[in-house]
């Protein structure tokens, strides 16, 4: 009997290896596949399309005997059926490092099409798709590629930013652990389009499973992407290295300090050469776009936010996991209809969207659609698409304090607003929490936030005011107001 169990880090952390071993010992033919992204059900076991989860080793006999309760067909489960999976089309279905499985599910078609249509038409296709950088900035990928393609240089680079440090984000990790060839194919297409023969994937050291899978997939596919080469580089525990210019410094072997822009990395990037720096999800969307055409991708979404976004629903939520959907879905649908509310069963007090630099959003704004412009207009950001759900026991003054503390710990030290502002902000928030001159100190925080927002070199200092000020604005009662 064929039994599919994920070997994604979430499944492993929840005990999938022991469950897989128990099935194998009972004589089942165990296949380790990627994760469906239904994290609350991991370890999720699939037999003939039907799912069981979360499974522990003592349930193995009952599942094999057919007496255990199933969640039904996984593909018909509302969490999966409601999605529009383009980037995650293979999730749960294929063996991550199997070239056979990748070929059988349309792999390498995008790269073949790119080579057939030529570099210029490849860039036109990406432009037509409306694909915007999924790392958080939302910059049009095609325009970045065009800039690099137009730069004259003896060496150009493709750098994949896989330093996924935001809390509540794991889509990059799931791509690298679940469908690594898709990312390699996307990088090879980018390399072909802009004339770069070398690519680096900068992966954070907290992701050992992703590092191992990428290394193995790179070795297995080297002949298919040649003359393009891909190499994994491992980060060293610095959050700010997710910022593209500090990432480039880190790749060069320097302190991960932010560079002033201009010059743009597209013109003077890695080792001073023209460089495409794209997030994992941006590059991973490219094979689908080349296979199906730019217009097919642009048909999803709303306004200037075209295509799909892999939303990551996390924190105190009943049904957490990966939910890929066209832009335009509202926050409320994601938190309540898809996520099922909080795991503790208590009322939702707020969500934080976009990681540690994202705003805290109260339920009265859950009508907000997932759209870059709509979020910006509401003083919030989509970032990398992560949502952290909090119940009503959260102390928002402590969360605001944590945002400043995190910025102080992770600041690269290059610019004053971030380096000093975060520490002074932390001290001031401590005074507010202690009840000292609350109104005067809150005014000081508002003023400091303005300075950090407009005076910092990068998003770390520039966006830390979002969680701080949104907490103060929407949850003043937690600050003694």
């Amino acid at each position: 009997m064929k039994v599919s169990i994920s070997d994604d880090a979430v499944a492993i952390a929840c005990g999938a290896d022991a469950v897989a071993a128990a099935f194998a010992q009972a004589g089942a033919d165990v296949v380790r596949v990627s994760s469906w992204g239904m994290h609350w059900l991991e370890p999720l076991v699939e037999i003939d399309g039907a799912g069981f989860g979360p499974v522990s080793t003592d349930q193995v006999a009952a599942i094999l005997a057919g007496t255990a309760a199933s969640i039904g067909r996984i593909e018909d489960h509302p969490f999966i059926a409601k999605q529009q999976r383009l980037t995650f089309a293979r999730a749960g279905k294929t063996r991550p490092t199997s070239l056979d499985d990748y070929y059988a599910t349309g792999g390498w078609t995008g790269l073949a099409k790119a080579r057939e249509m030529g570099a210029e038409a490849t860039i036109e296709t990406v432009l037509a798709s409306g694909l915007r950088g999924r790392g958080g900035a939302g910059f049009p990928a095609g325009i970045k590629w065009k800039t690099v393609a137009g730069a004259a240089a003896d060496q150009k680079y493709i750098v994949c930013n896989a330093d996924e440090g935001d809390s509540a984000t794991f889509a990059d990790r799931m791509v690298m652990e679940g469908d690594p060839f898709m990312l390699i194919e996307g990088m090879a297409i980018a390399g072909f389009a802009v004339g770069a023969n070398r690519g680096y994937v900068y992966i954070r050291s907290e992701y050992p499973h992703a590092i191992a899978k990428m290394n193995s997939a790179i070795a297995a596919s080297a002949h298919l992407v040649a003359p393009f080469t891909v190499e994994v580089r491992v980060g060293a525990g610095s959050y700010v290295c997710g910022e593209e210019t500090s990432l480039l410094n880190s790749l060069e072997g320097k302190r991960g300090e932010v560079r002033a822009k201009p010059p743009l990395p597209a013109l003077e990037g890695l080792f001073g050469k023209p460089t495409v720096v794209n997030n994992v999800l941006t590059l991973a969307a490219v094979p689908w776009i080349l296979t199906h055409g730019g217009a097919a991708y642009a048909a999803y979404g709303m306004g200037r936010s075209q295509g799909t976004i892999p939303v990551q629903i996390a924190g105190n939520v009943k049904h957490g996991g990966l939910f890929e959907v066209a832009f335009g879905i509202t926050l409320g649908e994601l938190v309540h209809d898809v996520g099922g509310g909080t795991d503790t069963g208590r009322p939702v007090r707020c969500v934080q969207v976009g990681g540690p630099l994202g705003a805290y959003i109260p339920p009265d704004q859950f009508h907000l659609p997932f759209d870059y412009e709509a979020f910006t207009a509401a003083d919030a950001l989509i970032g990398h698409g992560g949502i952290t759900v909090f119940d009503d026991t959260v102390d928002m003054a402590q969360m605001a304090r944590f945002a400043m503390e995190f910025c102080a710990v992770e600041s690269c030290g290059k610019c004053t607003p971030c380096r000093l502002g975060s520490t002074r902000g932390l001290e001031t928030l401590d005074r507010i929490i202690a009840g000292e001159n609350v109104e005067a100190n809150l005014a000081l925080i508002a003023d400091l936030s303005e300075t950090m927002k407009f005076g910092s070199l990068c998003a770390l200092g520039g966006f830390t005011p979002y969680p701080v000020m949104s907490a103060i604005t929407h949850f003043g009662e937690d600050f003694g107001r």
Partner: protein, 136 residues
């Protein structure tokens, strides 16, 4: 027994070799010593200050070896939302194991999460945390 010289030879000719070298040194010796910094600087034609600056910038590199087993406990927002702060008091004052904070292991829907070496653990509660600390 691996030496710093072996590691330097492994990375000869590589683009931007400093971080990969430091990772290998950290892995082989548990820390990056003053002597290692000196040897790396000489080999890469950098000043000791430059290498020291890189070592001290990144959280992963230690200047002194940690003799105790290390548990990296995630205390980022998603794990906070799932109650990690309630586990923190029991990790404080531990003498046999060292519990360090880490910010995000990418297991954000099944937290609280922790990492020991390359092993990862999710859905931690007080009893699982006690068992984890006792297992080391």
């Amino acid at each position: 027994m691996t030496t710093v010289a072996d590691i330097l030879a492994d990375h000869d000719g590589r683009e931007g070799p400093l971080l990969p070298i430091l990772h290998d040194v950290q892995k082989a010796f548990g820390h990056v010593s003053e002597a290692a910094i000196r040897a790396i600087a000489k080999s890469l034609n950098l000043t000791r200050a430059e290498v020291y600056g890189v070592v001290s910038f990144y959280h992963d590199f230690r200047k002194e070896a940690e003799p105790r087993p290390v548990i990296k406990l995630c205390r980022a927002e998603a794990c906070k939302a799932r109650g990690v702060e309630a586990l923190v008091p029991m990790t404080e004052g531990q003498t046999r194991v060292k519990v360090e904070s880490v910010y995000c292991l990418g297991l954000c829907a099944v937290g609280p999460a922790a990492m020991i070496g390359d092993q990862i653990y999710a859905r931690l509660d007080a009893s699982r945390m006690t068992a984890l600390m006792a297992s080391l």
